[in-house]
């Protein structure tokens, strides 16, 4: 029980940035713009937020800075993909490469710590929030443990993410904008005929995409590690994209995909250095590779084939 709760606890922690990034990808891809640049936007946001939080000693200003940096990159991606009708794959790759180049360059120039940011002081980080009655309930069997150890004691960003999931689901499926978003992703010409501005919808989608990626990046640096570390996203953006594809471009299944990755990760940490019966100690490299192999298996459709939004990756050129 104790073991299980601690595995689930770290599952939640690891899953949240993935979920935010996957939802970010959902906005973009549902509008018909491929986004392989989740990784780069997260990385840039992680750097910008850590830098701002360190200078101002305020995690909220860090969050703002992270979101702004990420939104700027999303707007660049929007300019290339929507206004310019450029290749969205290449644009995404450019954002990733620019992010992994610029963050250590600025980091070194500003902080002289080999491209990383200094460790954030306590005031500059998001803290764990203890939910009401968590301590009083801690001794109640099962429910008390679940409440006080699993639900309570996370960063405010975790609770924000938990709220964001239903909000995004509602937004995509029930709101006016959501209807337009999906229409533009499936058949931009029909949407255009109906008087919807395809470009406008895609720009707005990418704005939210940037905002959510910014939160995801901030989560990594200002909460999880308490500092920016070079290349700290290490493929998380691609994992989020894989979860999105696994979830067939729907929010709740995508969230489940993220939880799956995070669960694999949480188990991986516990397997490190532990001798398994009949196998012995599994080398850490084999454990570290689990999420990537899992992604490949998921994408290979061994869990069912997913159909992408129809107009994904195709620039919209207004018919005359």
């Amino acid at each position: 029980m104790d073991q299980l709760i601690s595995v689930l606890d770290s599952t939640i922690r690891v899953a949240m940035p993935l979920i935010l990034a996957a939802l970010a990808g959902l906005f973009s891809e549902r509008s018909g713009v491929v986004d392989i640049s989740l990784e780069g936007k997260m990385l840039t946001a992680a750097f910008a937020s850590a830098a701002a939080a360190y200078v101002t000693q305020n995690p909220w200003i860090g969050l703002m800075a992270g979101m702004m940096a990420s939104i700027m990159l999303a707007m660049l991606h929007a300019f290339v993909s929507v206004t310019y009708n450029g290749n969205q794959m290449i644009s995404g790759m450019a954002v990733n490469t620019i992010a992994s180049g610029i963050t250590p360059v600025l980091g070194l120039a500003w902080f002289q710590q080999g491209g990383n940011s200094p460790q954030l002081p306590d005031e500059g980080r998001f803290h764990e929030v203890v939910l009401p009655f968590a301590e009083q309930l801690a001794d109640v069997p099962v429910i008390g443990q679940l409440y006080s150890r699993l639900l309570s004691g996370h960063s405010v960003l975790v609770y924000m993410t938990i709220v964001i999931i239903p909000v995004v689901t509602w937004f995509v499926y029930k709101s006016r904008f959501g209807l337009r978003l999906r229409a533009v992703g499936e058949n931009p010409h029909a949407a255009d005929t109906a008087g919807v501005s395809v470009a406008r919808v895609r720009y707005i989608a990418l704005f939210w995409n940037g905002a959510l990626c910014g939160m995801a990046g901030t989560f990594l640096s200002v909460y999880q590690t308490g500092a920016f570390i070079k290349e700290m996203t290490a493929g998380k953006g691609f994992l989020a994209l894989a979860a999105l594809i696994f979830g067939k471009w729907r929010p709740v299944p995508a969230v489940i995909g993220c939880l799956l990755f995070a669960f694999a990760d949480a188990i991986q940490i516990r397997l490190e250095g532990v001798a398994l019966p009949g196998v012995g100690i599994i080398p850490s490299q084999f454990i570290a590779v689990i999420p990537y192999v899992l992604t490949v298996l998921l994408l290979a459709g061994f869990v069912g084939r997913s159909v992408a939004p129809k107009s994904i990756g195709i620039p919209f050129v207004k018919s005359r």
Binding site: Y84, G86, S100, V105, A234, I245, Y292, L299
Partner: protein, 358 residues
């Protein structure tokens, strides 16, 4: 707008734009962009050793650039050249470690080169198969294969291939029979003296590969099929082309070309397998292919540019501690942006200039 202008003026303007943004960032971090440019150019082409290193880096970038371009012509975005080159290095190492005491150089080197191609091709074949048969997203799978290759190699080098008794995660030095002849010794044989640099005979292989690439892509039946699939795979299927086979072969060729970069690095320069010897050459290949517009002449020129940037950038980072090699990654990103995603950005401004002359 005439084609020659499209292939020269536009890329040049895009390159200028990328360098301008770089200059801006250089200025922002408190350095003088012009002075940095001077150091960079001098480091890359200002003295003969610098030129040797520039051409050595160029060699690797030609291979990975051609690799990315091959996949591109077939309509796929292979961002896994990094991992394919890494695994190509594994092939080289396994063959050399097993046989370098038994075989003479004329057998050893071709065998090692073959191993690099086969291993690189095999590593690219899997994502290719997943794309052709299972509809996986090639970009994400090749990226995942980079991570998997990196973990796999860390394990193999750290546990199995490491030199016994050594603390560093590298293999033993390869036997001299496996070394690819250095350019210095080759030119010395015909009486030309150049300083000692890692530049080696792989450079000549790269030139051959460029020519072969041109012939195969534009003057063979298979090259035609490849480009047809790249333009429209449904039409290709309708025309009776075996699309699956073309994709599988294209990815294998792409991976094999990436693998050759390992020959340049391992047999030509370090003579042992190091952790992370690829050091981003696969990613540079993406920028090289995009800037070279997937044409061998363009690829050679942009590989040369990136070779110069890498070598000059290293000199620059010695002189200016605040500018690290990540600056080159940043420039690479800008070049991908301007030359790849925004390739015709300046056309509306430039095209009228050509019209007026008529």
């Amino acid at each position: 707008m005439p084609r020659w202008a499209q292939l020269t003026v536009l890329p040049a303007l895009n390159l200028m734009a990328a360098l301008l943004v770089t200059a801006l960032v250089t200025w922002m971090i408190g350095e003088d962009p012009l002075e940095c440019l001077q150091i960079l150019v001098h480091g890359a082409v200002g003295y003969s050793e610098g030129i040797g290193y520039t051409l050595f880096y160029t060699t690797s970038f030609v291979f990975t650039g051609l690799a990315v371009a091959t996949a591109f012509h077939a309509g796929m975005f292979n961002i896994g050249a990094e991992g394919q080159a890494y695994i190509g290095g594994l092939g080289v190492t396994l063959v050399v470690l097993a046989l370098d005491h038994a075989l003479p150089a004329p057998l050893m080197v071709p065998l090692a080169v073959l191993a690099s191609i086969v291993f690189g091709a095999a590593w690219a074949f899997i994502p290719g198969w997943l794309q052709a048969r299972r509809g996986s997203h090639i970009v994400v799978t090749t990226m995942m294969f980079n991570f998997i290759a990196s973990s796999l190699m860390l394990y193999l080098i750290g546990h199995l291939l490491i030199e016994p008794g050594s603390q560093n995660p590298t293999t033993r030095e390869f036997g001299a029979s496996s070394w690819v002849a250095s350019m210095q010794s080759m030119l010395a044989a015909v009486g030309v003296e150049i300083p000692s640099t890692p530049l080696n005979a792989s450079f000549l292989i790269a030139l051959v590969a460029l020519v072969l690439f041109y012939v195969v892509i534009w003057h063979t039946r298979w090259g035609f099929q490849l480009r047809t699939v790249g333009v429209n795979d449904k039409a290709a299927r309708y025309a009776g082309i075996n699309v699956t086979l073309v994709i599988l072969l294209a990815m294998s060729v792409s991976g094999g070309l990436s693998g050759l970069a390992a020959v340049n690095e391992l047999l030509g320069s370090t003579h042992r397998l190091n952790v992370a010897f690829t050091n981003g050459i696969g990613f540079v290949g993406i920028a090289v292919a995009l800037m070279g517009r997937n044409h061998p002449v363009g690829i050679f020129l942009s590989a040369l540019l990136f070779g110069a940037l890498t070598q000059g950038g290293l000199d620059l980072s010695f002189e200016k501690p605040v500018i690290t090699r990540e600056m080159i990654i940043f420039i690479q990103g800008l070049i991908i942006l301007f030359c790849g995603a925004l390739e015709n950005l300046f056309e509306p401004f430039i095209a009228p200039l050509f019209k007026r002359r008529k």
